[in-house]
């Protein structure tokens, strides 16, 4: 007879210690609302995180929470999910935590399809260590550790995920309540590893790095909100569309009113299309870019286990081995 919980019920009494104006506040709000909307139970929901600004997240959500060590949250969460597959396990990570020190764990968690809801807060910078360039920072990023501009080619979280064999990849913007709220619900509903990249504004060290497409004034022209089975239209009145150019093997913007027949229809099961959408510069593709249902790791773990992890024999029956003898 549990009553409907609200976002407030998922908020802890802990004082939030992110910088004023940080994008994390908006994400926290969206997540607690999404938890309420999907009818999550606090006692069977767990937030697991690593280290970094994003990883403080579990302290602020009124569910079980485990703030672990740098980069390793997916590994801890995998063990937890195997121990109790009935739990709703969320992993909160950042671009440094998830793609630099923890890149290996993210790779293997995605390919195994362990049933974790992974949220990667991407702000293209190391915030908690005071502003060094991160694995997603663009080439030439000026930072305390790259005063002459960074020389590394950045990693694309989406391409990384699809390359690793992820079965669910979505994107949203921290302050986009509707878009983020919808993506969080889809990510929660996916039975397997859902990987969501959230463009998060670091107000102190990398302000407005995503402004080209997050600025509300130009949103209609710079954001492509994807829906499975619907044409890829944007530009306010849907006057613009995306088509596939077979000569360049890439996506391009066309006038949708002129040639509506050429506008692509989103197919979230198409990994090739997903790769093209991930690389689309302006507009930036948002929403569920790729979703391909497959057996989650924890389900395979139990079904392949002859006794579903139950103890059906005692050690006493087993301990003698094939050859034992008695000394009188």
């Amino acid at each position: 007879m549990s009553e409907q919980l609200t976002a407030r019920d998922f908020t802890t009494s802990q004082e939030v210690r992110w910088c004023p104006g940080c994008g994390d506040y908006a994400i926290l709000k969206a997540v607690t609302k999404a938890l309420a909307d999907v009818g999550a139970k606090p006692e069977s929901t767990v937030f697991v995180s690593g280290i970094g600004c994003a990883s403080r997240f579990p302290y602020y959500v009124e569910t079980y929470g485990f703030h672990t060590i740098h980069g390793r949250a997916p590994a801890v969460a995998t063990g937890l999910k195997l121990a109790n597959p009935d739990l709703d396990v969320w992993v909160v990570t950042g671009d440094g935590d998830g793609l630099s020190i923890g890149g290996n764990h993210l790779l293997h968690t995605l390919r195994r399809n362990a049933g974790l809801k992974i949220l990667l807060f991407n702000n293209e910078i190391y915030g908690l260590t005071k502003g060094q360039y991160s694995p997603t920072s663009r080439k030439g990023t000026i930072s305390p550790s790259s005063p002459a501009g960074s020389i590394d080619t950045p990693v694309s979280p989406g391409q990384f995920a699809i390359g690793a064999g992820a079965k669910f990849f979505a994107r949203a913007i921290d302050t986009d309540k509707t878009g983020l709220g919808d993506v969080l619900q889809q990510a929660h509903a996916f039975d397997g590893a859902s990987f969501t990249e959230i463009f998060q504004n670091c107000i102190v060290y990398n302000e407005d790095v995503f402004a080209a497409f997050t600025d509300r004034k130009n949103a209609a022209e710079t954001q492509l909100h994807l829906k499975h089975g619907e044409p890829m239209l944007f530009g306010g009145d849907g006057s613009k569309g995306i088509r596939f150019n077979p000569d360049t093997y890439s996506l391009e913007v066309i006038d949708a009113t002129e040639s509506p027949g050429e506008v692509l229809v989103h197919d979230e099961r198409n990994a090739v299309l997903a790769r093209l959408l991930i690389d689309l510069q302006l507009p930036v593709a948002l929403g569920v870019i790729y979703r391909q249902p497959a057996e989650p790791f924890e389900s395979a773990f139990y079904t392949h286990h002859p006794t579903q992890m139950r103890r059906t024999r005692s050690v006493a029956e087993f301990i003698k081995g094939p050859n034992s003898w008695t000394v009188e």
Binding site: T12, Q14, P42, E43, S44, T45, V46, V48, S49, P58, Y59, E62, T63, Y64, G65, F66, H67, T68, I69, R72, A75, V76, A77, T78, G79, L80, K81, L82, A83, N84, D86, L87, N104, H105, L107, H108, F301, H305, P306, T307, M309, R310, R311, T312, R313, S314, V315, A316, F318, I319, K320, G321, P322, N323, S324, W325, T326, V327, E328
Partner: protein, 604 residues
Amino acid sequence: MRLAGDSGDGIQLMGSQFAVSTALSGRDFATFPDYPAEIRAPAGTTFGVSAYQINLGGEPITTAGDAPDVLVAFNPAALKVSLPMLQPGALIVLNNDSFTPRNLTKAGYEEDPREGNTLDQFQVVRADISHLNLEAVRSFGLSKSESGRCKNFWTLGLLLWMFGRELEPIEAWIRRRLAGKPTMRDANIAALHAGHAFGETAELSATLPQLSVEAARMAPGEYRSVTGAEALALGIAAAGELADRPVLFCSYPITPSSPLLHRLTRLQELGVGTFQAEDEIAAICAAIGASYGGMIGVTSSSGPGIALKTEAMGLAVSAELPMLIVNWQRGGPSTGLPTKTEQSDLYQAVYGRNADTPIPVLAAGSSGECFDMAVEGVRIATRHMTPVMLLVDGYLSNASEPWLIPDIESLPRIDSRPVPEVPAGSDAATLAYQRDPASLGRPWITPGMPDLVHRTGGLEKDYLTGHISYDPDNHQRMTEFRAAKVDSVANFIPDQDVELGEDSGAIVVVGWGSTYGPIYQAVRRTGTSFIHLRHIHPLPRNLGTLLGRFDKVLVPEMNNGQLATLLRDKLGIQPVSFCKVSGQPFRISELADRIEAERKGDAS
């Protein structure tokens, strides 16, 4: 007896099956597998030699023996490596076919050792093993390499004849093992019989002695042969049963730890799950996740892998979660000697973490004792809610010995502090950290439990509420609490006893781990006293008083003096170190000599 050949000759398999036969015949034994790091090292070379040493007899056996009385050498390199170890007058069985000019060169022999006087002081039996084996399996239509792979069973047949053993149990084992490959099964059985018949036939009966070894006088009960990996796997499963919780074993392949993973994958009906993680860090983190979820999380590795797991051990300490960490110690530093045994990770276990991060440390003294220490490790981990490290000397993983099968029913249940009732309106976090006054273990609260929802992690926690705390006094209190918790383990473990000899006197030998065997024999030989430590950290409460009753404390170790340092640090005594780091176990004779020298006071 020492069996030696190329690493692809199936020496380890032949040795372990001979050990099984020895066990079934009622003799006591101890074994020492000695193999190269390469899976198939270049054939015929001295560094590619794989050997299996077994000591058997009617008297209680505690070591794999100092100087073998019998050597089976499959090639010149195996002869060259093993010859210096042999007892004068030892019997050598040579695979005559392999003494080709090419193999002699590869082994570094300038002249054929069979021709000169190298082997004068030994009894030598030359058998054309390769050729005789090929003849024995010719009718099965196998390829040349498949036929060659039956050679170890041909030789085993010969050994079984020499020691007057039954063929039947080995034959049954072949039938089970090769059930899916009927041709190979039948060929191996034919080779086994042919080797046995070779021993029996007239040709060599004059030179080939039948060796009779009396049955051992062992304590009454039911026995089996067990390796360290087998005993540890059973111990982990038993601990799960005693705690009434499933076990999740998470590990990453590494020598010599992998046999434990392999064994545990076969114990699924006992409620054991295995997870092969992407790396060492993921393995321990998944074990932590499993423990956080209420299963018994276990991980295992060797020194280099344990080093990678270090940060995560700190997390388990901070979050007050139970876990068993097994370290199969091998030679180091760095990659070191992956297949050679050592005891050099004691500092790593006791002192090797950032900050003040104490954890209890245990050590197993023999293959069979791996069972007891696995149960003890999980018991301490859950009672005190702490990770526990179990040190095992690497070679015990594959070394077998007869094992008095323990009575599981008689073992006490494994418990943690009960999960509290939740009074209305109480703070769940506070309940999560209401620790037991004696063990300082907190209740094992796991996600899914209603009304106990709380957060935990690696940031310093408030002692009472578990909330993040940077308060100076609280950190002081938490640091002292973590130390006190590990120290409290000493209140739950038995007092240290004297394994052998008087409880006071001129000299006592203190050992830990697999040196148990050679020290036991050397102490028996010299009539001194022996104390064997199973609890390394904390040490038993009475140890200081006990050691104070001796004039001198001698500490033999397969490292550069690590237990001696620990005893100096914890007890303030000045022990004498005797260190050996050659990758080979202590010989009884070298220990006995040193004990005598120390007793006379003329040790250099």
